[in-house]
C-alpha cells in the first residue's frame, strides 16, 4: 500500500509540475507576440546565447566530427566500406549530433545562467520591483530569452554542422588518407535538404525548451542561495532530459516511414 501511495504521490507531483510549466509557457508565449516588444533586451539575449556560445559549440562540433570519422572508419574497414565515412559523418552531424550536442552544451552554459540570474532576482525581490515599476516580468525577463533561444539555436546548429563536417574532413584527409576532392564529393552526394532542415527545426525546439526551463526554474525559485542553486541544477537537468525526449519524437516525426 505504501509503494502504491508513493508512486501515486510522485505521479501527482509530476502532473502538477507539468501543468505549472505549461501554464508558464502559455503566459510567456502570449507575451512574446504582444507589444511592447523589448528589442534591446532580445538583442542582448541573442548575443549572450548565440555569439558567446560559439566557442563551446564549435569545439564540441569539431571534435565530434573528428572522432566520428575515426570511429566509422575503423568500423567500416572491417567490411571494406571505408568510402561511406564522409556520408556517415555528414548525416550523423546534421540530423542528430549537431542539434543534440549543441543544445546540451547551451543548456549547461545558458540555461544554468538564466536560472541563476532570474532566481537571484526572485529571491532579492527584483522581480517584485519590476512589477511595482509597471513592468511585466514575463515580458521583460522571459519573453526576450524565449525569442532569443528559439532563433539563435538554429544559427548555432548551422555553424556546428559546418564545423563538425569540417572536423570529419580534417581527420579523413590528414589521418585516414582520403582524397580531399573525393571526400567532399561523397559528403554532398547523399546529403538531402531534410537532413539539415530537420536538425534546424530540432534546434529551434531545443532552444525554446532551454530558455523555458531556465526561466521557469529561476522564476519559481525560493529560499535564498540554496533555492537558486537548486533552480540552476533543475534547469540544466530538466532541459537536458527534455532535449533527449523531444529529439526522439522529432526524429520519429521527420524520418519514420
Amino acid at each position: 500500500m505504501g509503494f502504491v501511495r508513493s508512486v501515486g504521490g510522485a505521479a501527482l507531483v509530476f502532473l502538477a509540475a507539468t501543468g505549472r510549466i505549461a501554464l508558464f509557457a502559455a503566459v510567456a508565449v502570449s507575451h512574446c507576440v504582444r507589444p511592447p516588444i523589448y528589442g534591446r533586451l532580445i538583442l542582448r539575449q541573442m548575443i549572450s546565447i548565440g555569439y558567446y556560445s560559439l566557442p563551446v559549440v564549435g569545439l564540441t562540433a569539431l571534435f565530434t566530427g573528428m572522432v566520428l570519422a575515426l570511429q566509422s572508419y575503423t568500423g567500416f574497414a572491417r567490411f571494406q566500406a571505408e568510402g561511406a565515412v564522409a556520408t556517415v559523418v555528414v548525416i550523423s552531424i546534421t540530423r542528430e549530433l549537431g542539434p543534440v550536442l549543441a543544445a546540451l552544451m547551451v543548456a549547461g552554459r545558458v540555461g544554468a545562467a538564466m536560472a541563476a540570474e532570474i532566481g537571484t532576482m526572485r529571491v532579492t525581490e527584483q522581480i517584485d520591483a519590476l512589477s511595482t515599476l509597471s513592468t511585466n516580468p514575463y515580458k521583460y525577463l522571459v519573453a526576450p530569452r524565449l525569442i532569443a533561444g528559439f532563433t539563435m539555436l538554429p544559427c548555432l546548429v548551422l555553424v556546428a554542422d559546418i564545423i563538425g563536417v569540417f572536423g570529419g574532413f580534417l581527420v579523413g584527409v590528414t589521418v585516414l588518407d582520403f582524397n580531399p576532392g573525393a571526400y567532399i564529393q561523397r559528403t554532398w552526394q547523399y546529403l538531402e535538404a531534410v537532413d539539415v532542415i530537420s536538425g534546424l527545426v530540432k534546434a529551434a525546439v531545443f532552444g525554446f525548451v532551454i530558455a523555458l526551463m531556465g526561466c521557469y526554474h529561476g522564476y519559481a525559485s525560493k529560499g535564498g542561495a540554496q533555492g537558486v542553486g537548486a533552480a540552476t541544477t533543475n534547469a540544466v537537468v530538466s532541459s537536458s532530459i527534455m532535449i533527449l525526449v523531444f529529439n526522439y519524437f522529432l526524429t520519429g516525426l521527420f524520418f519514420s516511414r
Binding site: T124, E125, D128, A129, T132, L133, S134, T135, N136, Y140
Partner: protein, 258 residues
C-alpha cells in the same frame, strides 16, 4: 471618490497552507497621511504590504485604492493602479545588471515610455534629491554601500512621482546615523511629493520619525492604531511591550525546542 481613503483594507485574510498569516486586517490611510505598521517578525507586516501592492492575492477581504476595489483586478487594470505606486524594498532590490541611473529611470523608461536621454537627466536630478552626486549615476549597484543603495532605491521609488509610496523596513541593516539620514530623506521626499505613505518597520526610532499614525499588527490583525504622539500612552500591553523591546509581556516569541 474625492473623499475616499487613499488606501482602505477591510477584513483581509491570507493563509499559506495551514498557516494563517492575515486574520482580518483592516485599516485606512487618508490622502497625504503617513501610516507606519509596526510589529514583530512573522506577524504579517510584509504580507499585508504585498497584498496591497498586488504581489499576493488575499483569500478574502477588500483592498481599495482611491475607492477602487483592487482584489481580483485584471492585468491591465492592475498595471493602471500600479502607476500610482512607488516602493522602497527592504533589501533595496536594485537591478544589478543596470547602472544606477537606469535603475532610477526604470519606471520612466519602461513604464512611461520616456526617452532615455530625458530619463537620465531626470534620474540624475532625483539622485541629487537623495544626496547623491552625478558621479554615482554611472556606477553599478554592487559598487555602492548599503546606505547608498537605500538612497538609490528611494530615488527610484520617487522618480515617477507616485501618489502612494510604500516603505518596507527602510532602515534595516543600516547604522543608526545612516538610518536617521534615510528617515529624514523619506519625510522630505514624501512631503515634497504630497504623497501618501504606508510603511512597515520594527524600528521604533524610524516609526516615530516618519509616521503621522501608527498601527500595530499582531497575530495577523491590527490590535491598536492611533496618532504617533499617543503611542507611549496607548494603554495596550502588546504595544507597550513592543515599543520598549521587553522580553516579558503578553507577546511570546515562538521558539521551537531543538
Amino acid at each position: 471618490m474625492a473623499d475616499a481613503p487613499k488606501i482602505a483594507l477591510d477584513d483581509v485574510h491570507k493563509r499559506f497552507g495551514e498557516k494563517r498569516v492575515l486574520n482580518g486586517v483592516s485599516f485606512e490611510v487618508t490622502r497625504g497621511e503617513s501610516l507606519v505598521i509596526i510589529g514583530g517578525s512573522g506577524t504579517g507586516k510584509s504580507v499585508t504590504l504585498k497584498c496591497v501592492l498586488g504581489l499576493m492575492n488575499p483569500e478574502a477581504g477588500s483592498i481599495r485604492i482611491d475607492g477602487e476595489e483592487t482584489v481580483g483586478l485584471g492585468t491591465r487594470d492592475r498595471a493602471r493602479v500600479m502607476t500610482k505606486f512607488g516602493m522602497l524594498f527592504q533589501g533595496s532590490a536594485l537591478f544589478d545588471s543596470l547602472p544606477v541611473w537606469e535603475n532610477v529611470a526604470f519606471g520612466l523608461i519602461q513604464g512611461q515610455g520616456m526617452a532615455r536621454k530625458a530619463a537620465k537627466d531626470l534620474a540624475v536630478a532625483k539622485l541629487a534629491n537623495v544626496g547623491l552626486g552625478a558621479d554615482v549615476a554611472e556606477l553599478f549597484p554592487a559598487e555602492l554601500s548599503g546606505g547608498m543603495q537605500k538612497r538609490v532605491s528611494l530615488a527610484r521609488a520617487i522618480a515617477t512621482e507616485p501618489e502612494i509610496i510604500f516603505f518596507d523596513e527602510p532602515t534595516t541593516g543600516l547604522d543608526p546615523i545612516m538610518a536617521d539620514v534615510i528617515n529624514d530623506l523619506i519625510v522630505k521626499c514624501v512631503k515634497d511629493l504630497g504623497a501618501t505613505a504606508l510603511s512597515i518597520t520594527h524600528d521604533m526610532a524610524s516609526a516615530r520619525k516618519i509616521a503621522d499614525r501608527v498601527a500595530m499588527i499582531y497575530d495577523g490583525r491590527i490590535i491598536w492604531h492611533g496618532p504617533v504622539a499617543e503611542i507611549d500612552r496607548s494603554g495596550n500591553p502588546y504595544v507597550d511591550q513592543f515599543i520598549h523591546g521587553r522580553a516579558e509581556g503578553p507577546i511570546r516569541m515562538q521558539v521551537k525546542r531543538l
